[in-house]
Symmetry: C2
Subunit: 413 residues, 2 copies
């Protein structure tokens, strides 16, 4: 089964909002055997919406439309649907009452402009939105199904998961599409390709993609076919051919994030963690706490932006800072040991570096980062030299710190 | 001037990587008077790339292509370009030497697969990439210019800012496009629309967009015309008509982030800040430290995930936690006061809440968040009830905490 996604939104064409909906939709569609072949982003204009609908007509089994719904944009999108699919706009009195109740319950004011959110083309089936006031719509045309959803990610995701994905699952599929997503850290996409490409002719009928990223490169194997178990077998077989050659870089073959894998290891080994961050400014702890239940092993941490805090809160010796500099292997280790001691955790992780654009010297340029690790047996540090971009330096430092933590957790006993 | 963007990448169609390039390109093009009208995302296949090139042919002044370049994907994209634009692939010996030197300098291994990165169609002008090994390309066809860039954001941005934007600036434009982006916090997009829409007929010939977001709603006014000063006048005039009605929610009319505006106020008033976070897990400090030079006013902070840390590091009374609960107005205030005292800053900001999915009770459900603020004169807290989604709760909490900080900073004297 194939799909296209149409994203409606001037704010995306103007670069003011990043589209995150299409990746969420595409990723989840794969699980029900639907593969996205094209994504189209157009503005909030009736003309452009109708032209996008025409462009996808007849070429895909399913078309997913997000955006253009909501109190301030409804008119344009719904009139585009009426022009393309036919039908008339009708007020759904029951929906209007429901909407008013929902607003009352949540203490929101029911604005006049919200009334239009109970009006829908009679050519569509209304898809309920439990997370907001703009409902979804399903249209049929030329053997294709068109699913329209609001653009607010939380509401789109609600409709997708509670209604559309179960609906698609019920449909029988004739072709199975499966993939393995392999997360690595400590090797580049080129490095992975140099190892795997020479083996290509032994890997059978699969697709391979090498994906770069701040949190390590990812490798994706994809296979498609009529027989579900054959598709899985082809993937497993291909992986088994090169797996030992990349094993030391692989943190997951199940699509987990590095933070999730760290969580599994922390639980498995009954360990607790604390973190001291300087140049990453809280980003490492933000990633760790994205994992539900992380409070079971993550105790807390310190963002020690000033040297004074490194001393006062973490107990780093001011002498070490004077002698070696705040960005040094010695201070990274003292920070990791200090946060571990102060917070009473089994493991301490630390980062100190120069994110830029200011603060660099000839000896210690922007992008220099030291990462420290401490547990009951050992303390150590790694040094990295990243580039000039502040935000990228924060991300790469956080990625490498999580990578160092993962590596040490694996070996921890 | 109009533009289309073509994004090449299976990883985006599979939902494994989010496209952030198109928003960066679109946002920056506006500043040189170029407006993106369409974004097309297609897979790493010669057929799909050629078909996307055909689709944009003749309809736009400029076409920006990202992705599909780099050691593992070069062949497909370059052969698509050769098919569409004509010409032959030639090895640029000088570029090859430069590439080898660049790799050597950075201590990277020069893989055999990198040689192809010195081969380019002779139908294009090569655009230098100082941040990586895949160069950009410029093709001309049917009065349109096609700019091809690698997909790695850092490299794409380097080429865009150092070469393409200056190139476009030199071209004369006949129409000026300007916009004002108004950042607000504490009011919804519907709320903004209810205030502004009744005044619409007095606002003149401008476009208005209401954009929702976790860090507050944004309002965008856009105007276009042949006379630059008239375009600016129309925007200023429209804003002046409703500005006083929304003034208390507006933190910027210049496109700044909330963290940047907080930075301006901290410097202006010579204040220092520290932060104590529970459910946001470091996200607030991550945002604050995205601002270059934030170390001038941001001293540091604590992520107090366990109650023990709230007591040991922040000095929150265990009695308060027992009596009121860790998620309470009292504890939020004690955290803000505690971090301010411990870190020795002028201002303390705190968040305590239940991000979910676990940890909720009937009395204190998932999504309940208290935000605390403390300075030399006053301590206070605000309570919010968000939803069930952990990541969204983190973001909305961080947004509201930054909003509360901003509001108090404005009034600080």
């Amino acid at each position: 089964m194939t799909a296209a996604i149409i994203i409606i939104g001037d704010e995306i064409l103007l670069g003011q909002v990043k589209d995150t909906n299409s990746s969420h939709i595409a990723d989840n569609l794969l699980n029900v055997g639907v593969r996205v072949k094209k994504i189209l982003t157009v503005g909030d204009s009736k003309e452009e919406i109708v032209s996008a609908l025409k462009e996808t007509s007849g070429s895909y089994d399913h078309i997913f439309i997000t955006g253009g719904l909501g109190p301030t944009k409804d008119d344009i999108t719904k009139s585009a649907f009426l022009e393309y699919f036919g039908g008339e706009l009708v007020l759904d009195e029951n929906l209007l009452i429901e909407l008013k109740l929902k607003f009352e319950e949540r203490g929101w004011k029911f604005h006049e402009s919200n009334i239009s959110q109970a009006e829908y083309p009679d050519s569509c089936e209304v898809i309920p939105n439990e997370r907001g006031s703009a409902q979804g719509m399903l249209f049929h045309q030329n053997n294709s199904k068109y699913f329209a959803m609001p653009g607010v990610p939380h509401e789109m995701e609600g409709i997708l998961h509670s209604w559309i994905l179960p609906y698609l699952k019920k449909e029988s599929t004739q072709s199975y599409l499966k993939y393995i997503s392999i997360g690595t850290i400590g090797i580049s996409e080129s490095g992975l390709s140099e190892i795997i490409e020479p083996l290509r002719n032994r890997l059978g009928e699969i697709e391979i993609a090498y994906l770069p990223g701040y949190y390590g490169a990812r490798l994706r194997l994809t296979a498609e076919g009529a027989d579900q178990s054959d598709v899985q077998k082809r993937l497993d077989n291909a992986l088994s051919i090169f797996r030992d050659k990349i094993e030391k870089y692989v943190y997951s073959t199940k699509g987990d994030t590095l933070s999730e894998v760290i969580g599994y290891l922390m639980r498995e080994k009954s360990l607790t963690l604390s973190v001291a961050e300087s140049c990453t400014g809280g980003l490492i702890q933000d990633h760790l706490t994205d994992v539900p239940g992380s409070s079971d092993y993550f105790i807390g941490g310190v963002v020690s932006y000033s040297n004074d805090i490194k001393d006062k809160i973490l107990g780093v010796e001011l002498e070490s800072i004077e002698q070696f500099g705040a960005v040094s292997s010695e201070v990274a280790i003292e920070m990791a040991e200090g946060v571990r001691r102060k917070m009473g955790s089994d493991i301490g992780l630390s980062v100190t570096g120069i994110a830029g654009p200011g603060g660099g010297t000839e000896e210690k340029p922007v992008g220099l980062v030291h990462i420290g690790y401490s547990d009951k047996k050992t303390s150590k540090s790694n040094q990295y030299q990243f580039g000039n971009d502040r935000i990228i330096n924060k991300k790469r430092s956080a990625g490498m710190a999580l990578g160092m933590l993962w590596k040490n957790l694996k070996e921890y006993s």
